[in-house]
């Protein structure tokens, strides 16, 4: 059924902006109406520019307006990227020709072309990142301004690489633009929903065991890497997680859980809850295509009415999701890992990736479960 009540996920245009606006040295222009501009501008908290096209630009063509905006940005020392929205795409203007006189990166990712992940992928592919064989270190991928945990993830992975004595390569997409084409030969991930496809992928960092495995891979390929301090920290911190969860289980039954998130974070949440709390994963609703190998009941959930129906059907003790799910979880314990996370003051850059990510997530879950109000069934 194509119609959708209260759609939960952003469009490709927002995904493209969330990728490009993460690079320093790149001025990002949303070529579209003010409505298309304001949403990513408020969501991503990054400087964006807009052409703010109007009726006349549609009737007589948007070339003049586009050039006006490009001229106003020229000379500020940054490269310019233009993201097309639905209307210019439908009009079929030859924007590439319009921009021929300028050194501009054109990203064609109108909203109707897909969801946020599709737009992110189109944008990063358009930049055509490449490995510099002389670069050292390990790239970090999966950072998107769309993801409220991206900055925390990057900080955490950078910390772990530093402990292991491994230099940081390019961060996709939270780096200087020039580093896009000077990437290191190896890459680790923080969120597999936003891959870069650059270099040899050594693994992700969602969960303690995955982090350990990934650092073992780093040790295999990177001369001089000393991962022993990372492995020791994983062991020590895992003990703390086990102790806290065990203490919880002495008093309470394991929570039953419904998870709503991007496929990668959903899988992470399910594994942590299952492994440390023996939680019953009743349902995993993914915003994007679910993992084909998930061992939990999983389906793609597009609208809030579907999410509400799942919660009402499965009656979980704990709901993991965005502030949308929080609104329909009927007083159940709730932990937010999915954008948007509204109506909460969030100042610290908390991670989900790495050791800190598992600690943060477990802490949130235990506190939410201990504070929970009785569910209204």
């Amino acid at each position: 059924m194509p119609e959708c009540t209260n759609p939960l996920w952003s469009c490709a245009m927002t995904g493209a902006a969330s990728c490009l606006a993460g690079f320093r040295g790149l001025s990002v222009v949303i070529h579209g109406s003010s409505g298309c501009y304001y949403y990513p501008a408020t969501l991503l908290h990054a400087p964006l520019h807009g052409t703010f096209i109007m009726e006349n630009d549609v009737i007589f063509g948007s070339e003049e307006r586009l050039n006006e905006v490009i001229h106003s940005l020229s000379g500020n020392g940054t490269r310019i990227a233009v993201i097309t929205t639905c209307v210019p795409s439908i009009l079929g203007e030859d924007i590439r020709s319009m921009l021929a006189a300028h050194d501009v990166i054109l990203v064609d990712s109108p909203g109707f072309s897909g969801d946020v992940e599709a737009g992110y992928h189109i944008a990063l592919s358009t930049l055509a990142p490449s490995v510099d064989p002389d670069s050292t270190g390990v790239n970090i991928e999966g950072a998107s301004l769309f993801d409220p945990f991206a900055r925390g993830n990057v900080q955490e992975c950078s910390r772990l690489l530093d402990i292991a004595g491994v230099p940081k390569g390019t961060i996709f997409s939270q780096d200087a633009l020039r580093n896009v084409w000077q990437a290191a030969p190896y890459t680790i991930g923080t969120n597999e929903d936003f891959p870069s496809g650059v270099g040899t992928y050594l693994g992700g960092t969602l969960g303690l065991s995955e982090t350990q495995t990934t650092f073992e891979h780093i040790a295999e390929v990177y001369d001089g890497a000393d991962i022993e301090p990372v492995c020791r920290e994983i062991a020590e911190e895992e003990e703390r997680v086990i102790y806290a969860c065990d203490k919880y289980l002495r008093r309470y039954d394991p929570p039953t859980v419904a998870i709503f998130a991007g496929a990668s974070y959903a899988q992470f949440a399910a594994e942590v809850l299952n492994r440390y709390l023996d939680a019953g994963i009743l349902f995993v609703g993914t915003r994007n295509e679910p993992s084909p190998v998930s061992r939990y009941p999983t389906a793609r959930i597009a609208g809030l009415s579907e999410a509400r129906a799942c919660i009402e059907q499965h009656t979980p003790d704990l709901v993991i999701g965005s502030s949308f799910e929080r609104s329909v979880c009927n007083g159940r314990a709730f932990v937010g890992i999915t954008p948007p996370l509204r109506s909460r003051v969030r100042l610290v850059h908390q991670p989900l990736a790495g050791i800190g990510g598992t600690l943060h997530f477990t802490e949130e879950v235990l506190n939410a479960c201990m504070d929970r109000k009785p569910a209204t069934h």
């Binding site: 952003s10 469009c11 905006v69 209307v87 609104s327």
Partner: protein
């Protein structure tokens, strides 16, 4: 952000017509709003409206349904998708359905009015909101309010209520800014002033109401507009229901006694005691911020309503502040503060900035 505040460009930044209209239609609580376009447009607006309701501690989820236009619909036309979505939505028996169009739909030329014109047993009301093609955010608000006012016209019950209720003085609040963070505080300030002269509110058109309340729109003695941008709506209601309007909520300290007097005059009540009490309250408010006297300030916020700066300057003069370009920047709200309560909140922010 590329902002070029020249007159030729200023209208570019007026926001999306669709968002403006949705800020109105989603406050009819038994209604469903169908957004005819791609899913992204609906998500953006749903997310924004949801965030606003959370900010305002209103646990209501806006009921938006996207027709979910795909590339195929865009090539071959989206009328079937709209028809199918309306059939689906009506199965849940809503009180009314609003249909809002997006930029894409206007460009591909869908006849939304024709699809909405089919008899379906429930009012299906199209609101022309083709994104930037429809105008600005404010145009969307005005179009939606006028479309909703149409629900009150011609109703026998409405006519009877109108005659009956106009005998008892009451006011309508028209066009509150439903995305405004301080919406409830501003409403509380207006009702405080109204209650000081014994005037009740008939309906908040449109804020958190049901479609059954709309027919009483013509029953008030006067319509109070949130701000002058709603004058076209005020004029429309005046023509339709013969209800005069006041063009704005009371701005700052100076606008408050004048507001009380105007409402009292229209409603035929004595306001002398209320005005005197208000003047005492204003004097007390200024005295509470007397410690700011002599501070040198400048006004920050490039995107304020033009009427906000004069109101701020007037207040600064009343407090003996010096306004200089290199003065301590103090915040000016995007829209002018409403009444004494709004002014007091702004002054607390000034004190914070001056002492920072």
């Amino acid at each position: 952000m590329t902002l070029k505040p020249s007159p030729s460009n200023s209208c570019r930044y007026g926001g999306c017509t669709l968002t403006g209209a949705l800020s109105v239609t989603t406050h009819v609580r038994d209604a469903v709003t169908v957004v005819h376009g791609s899913k992204g447009c609906t998500h953006h607006n749903f997310s924004l409206l949801h965030a606003t309701s959370l900010d305002n501690d209103v646990p209501v989820i806006p009921n938006l349904v996207s027709t979910g236009l795909s590339e195929t619909d865009i090539i071959f036309g989206g009328e079937q998708a709209l028809d199918r979505t309306l059939d689906s939505v009506l199965r849940d028996d809503p009180g009314v359905v609003f249909v809002l169009s997006t930029c894409v739909v206007d460009i591909i030329g869908d006849d939304v009015r024709m699809v909405c014109g089919k008899e379906r047993g429930v009012p299906v009301i199209p609101v022309p909101t083709a994104g930037f093609l429809g105008g600005t955010f404010q145009d969307g608000v005005n179009k939606a309010l006028i479309a909703l006012a149409g629900m009150a016209e011609g109703s026998t019950a409405n006519k009877a209520r109108t005659v009956d209720n106009k005998e008892r003085a009451s006011v309508n609040i028209i066009g509150e800014k439903n995305l405004e963070f301080e919406i409830n505080e501003n409403y509380a300030e207006v009702t405080r002033l109204l209650s000081s002269i014994g005037i009740p509110v008939n309906i908040r058109f449109v804020h958190d109401l049901s479609s059954a309340q709309i027919p009483s729109l013509g029953a008030a003695r006067v319509n109070i507009l949130r701000d002058p941008a709603l004058v076209p709506v005020g004029e429309y209601l005046k023509k339709r229901f013969k209800t005069p309007y006041i063009s704005s909520f009371p701005l700052g300290l100076s606008g408050t006694p004048a507001f009380i007097k105007t409402v009292a005059d229209v409603c035929g009540v004595d306001c002398r005691d209320a005005v005197a009490e208000e003047q005492v309250l204003q004097a007390e408010t200024l005295a509470a911020f007397a410690d700011l006297e002599g501070a040198t300030v400048s006004f920050e916020n490039a995107l304020v309503d033009p009427s906000a700066v004069p109101a701020a300057k007037k207040l600064a003069r009343a407090l003996d502040l010096h306004i200089k370009k290199n003065g301590r920047p103090v915040p000016v709200p995007t829209t002018p503060p409403i009444g004494v309560a709004g002014t007091r909140r702004m002054l607390h922010r000034w004190r914070r900035a001056i002492h920072a």
